[in-house]
Symmetry: C2
Subunit: 416 residues, 2 copies
Amino acid sequence: MALIVQKYGGTSVADPDRIRACADNVAITKRHGNDVVVVVSAMGKATDNLISLADSVSDNQPGREMDMLLTTGERVTAALMTMALHDRGVDAISFTGSQVGIITDTEHRKAKIIEVKGDRVRKALGEGKVCVIAGFQGVSTAKEITTMGRGASDLTASAMAKALDAAACEIYTDVTGVFSADPRIIPQARKLQRINFDEMLEMAGAGSKVLALRSVEFARNHNVSLHVRSAFTWESGTWVTTEEPSMEDPIIRGVVTDTTEAKVTVLGVPDRPGISAALFEPLAGASVNVDMIVQNTSTDGTTDISFTMPMSDMKVAEDIVARVAEEIGAKGVTHDNDIAKVSLVGAGMKSSPGIAASMFRTLADEDVNIEMISTSTIRISVVVASADLERAARALHTAFGLDSGEGYAGPLPERR
Amino acid sequence: MALIVQKYGGTSVADPDRIRACADNVAITKRHGNDVVVVVSAMGKATDNLISLADSVSDNQPGREMDMLLTTGERVTAALMTMALHDRGVDAISFTGSQVGIITDTEHRKAKIIEVKGDRVRKALGEGKVCVIAGFQGVSTAKEITTMGRGASDLTASAMAKALDAAACEIYTDVTGVFSADPRIIPQARKLQRINFDEMLEMAGAGSKVLALRSVEFARNHNVSLHVRSAFTWESGTWVTTEEPSMEDPIIRGVVTDTTEAKVTVLGVPDRPGISAALFEPLAGASVNVDMIVQNTSTDGTTDISFTMPMSDMKVAEDIVARVAEEIGAKGVTHDNDIAKVSLVGAGMKSSPGIAASMFRTLADEDVNIEMISTSTIRISVVVASADLERAARALHTAFGLDSGEGYAGPLPERR
């Protein structure tokens, strides 16, 4: 008898019909002789609705109170899913993050898991029950209700799979797997059969929404294989595993697009040691996730520092940047929301030089201006104007052989 | 410095604007130098919406899961109210029932309070914080989330007032106090300045929705004076206290109408000992609150037993009654949802004979047929057809001098 952890995302449980469909899925898995632990997200837009409600009531939302508010969304789904399972003759019980002993640190809204106790889940599984856990949440060492950031229900699932030594961790989502690009932008995007953690990490970091970055990190660090699939078809999805890419794998795994970031530029910064620290330390202290950073070479003793960060953190960041800019004697600060990030990801890139050059040429041929560049061993990201995003992504998907599924096997042939 | 407990009901916190208005009220109370504990209900129709959601997902809703689901409503309000208080510069903190140590028995959906620990509230009050508590909920001795029945946020407020030895317990609602009748039915209904617990208990038992029966019982048993008032005016409301009625008080305090009950009749029951027990014990076991019971005198060795009960319990009761009716050899069961209950309540009734006779004559003059009668020392209730309710209630309100505020001072003059 295998233990399967199944996580159902917000779109999979968006309304009563879909909750019942997911319950059917769980019931079948249970009847096949498996123990099942279910992790659920809040229904559809429930979390967004709670956030708007908070915005209408209050200008400044203490993290502790936001966590008290937001954790209710997943609890509602957990209770409803458990009721639907009872209707199907499946003995089930719902649990909050606190009840299953997901112990976190005290950083509200972005808490980190310290320990997963899981005693009540083990006991309930021993009694033959399906356990339905409200995702995204835990209880802090100070006994406060905490949440672990958007998308953290995946993290709850990986963490439970690890704590319970599950045979599989299935992530049910609104797509049938991980794709070579966002199919809404690139219709010819293909579903990947498998992808390794490093590639998945880079894709998540580059803005792919299929899996949250931290849950991939957790799964990699604890070697929990993930199976990303749809709740509404029985077709196999994408396996995310530790497997190294083989010779047959394409060099580039996918094109990732991200429109959730904004660019901030601090202009005319005096070029002296300690300036970067003065800027980025307070941002880190406020848990603002700065992504790409570019500093121009100095010509007149001053320099411009640009960086990207989630638009959602802008409210917090704006005050900090303005204050620091004044302290360090910068000439000004500009913001640009009309940017997008497009990235190439693939483990094969490591041993294949010239990818960056091919990428830049492809973009140049499309008249796409590159505003910022950042690279890792298996990823190249560029920031472009929002208006150029689709054109850039489609050109790259085609140029790197992803349309056909053959993959890119070397430098692009010279054009024209 | 006095400690004030303030409870805000569902209509008082139905939308962001009203939550902010209630927060203003709390902030003013705090600035006047009081310690404040706030108890909140779920926003407007939030609880009803969660119940419909459960109905759409599942046919049979385990109590434990319903409690997991329903407690989220009050938590949302508690978090939002706390945020609104922060905006007003008031240091505040929200708590769930479990966090403040409201320990209940294990009867889900209708749990009873065993103990109120209140340690976290005392500590937070000591730090100068306003405590905002999610009403209606507690944690059972088996460490499960429980709820204490509809309207139990009032109970949370009285219990906290008792545990913290509060100077006052203010119940903020959508009306400005307790009225001599429901103003929606009887426009000339008047607000009562004060009422004693026994009268309030009978009014709640007779179907008045202003205060929940159990919270009045609790307040009476623990001598917690309640001040029922509106959150949106500063006028004084109605004080509910232990005070005995004085000579000047009217004999009849109010007319209470109730349209939430249904009548069940078990026909042709063999008239032998133990029949009532056979019927009502299993209903009590299923926590169905049977209200009025009438058994007709037997003529042919069989008898008809009629009783009223909340329509909302009908789903549970129907099966039980059908089963018992068959077991005891009854001829059949009928249900009637089109009934209403109208009651006269007043402590003066105790020492004033003939009230029942005057009541029946008033109804007869209005051609209202009486289906069932039940009395206590300070209440007379009759069941009538729903269609007759308004006419009956208005006639009684006028006949017993409640329109003018003078009150009824003796038997009605003989009419025509």
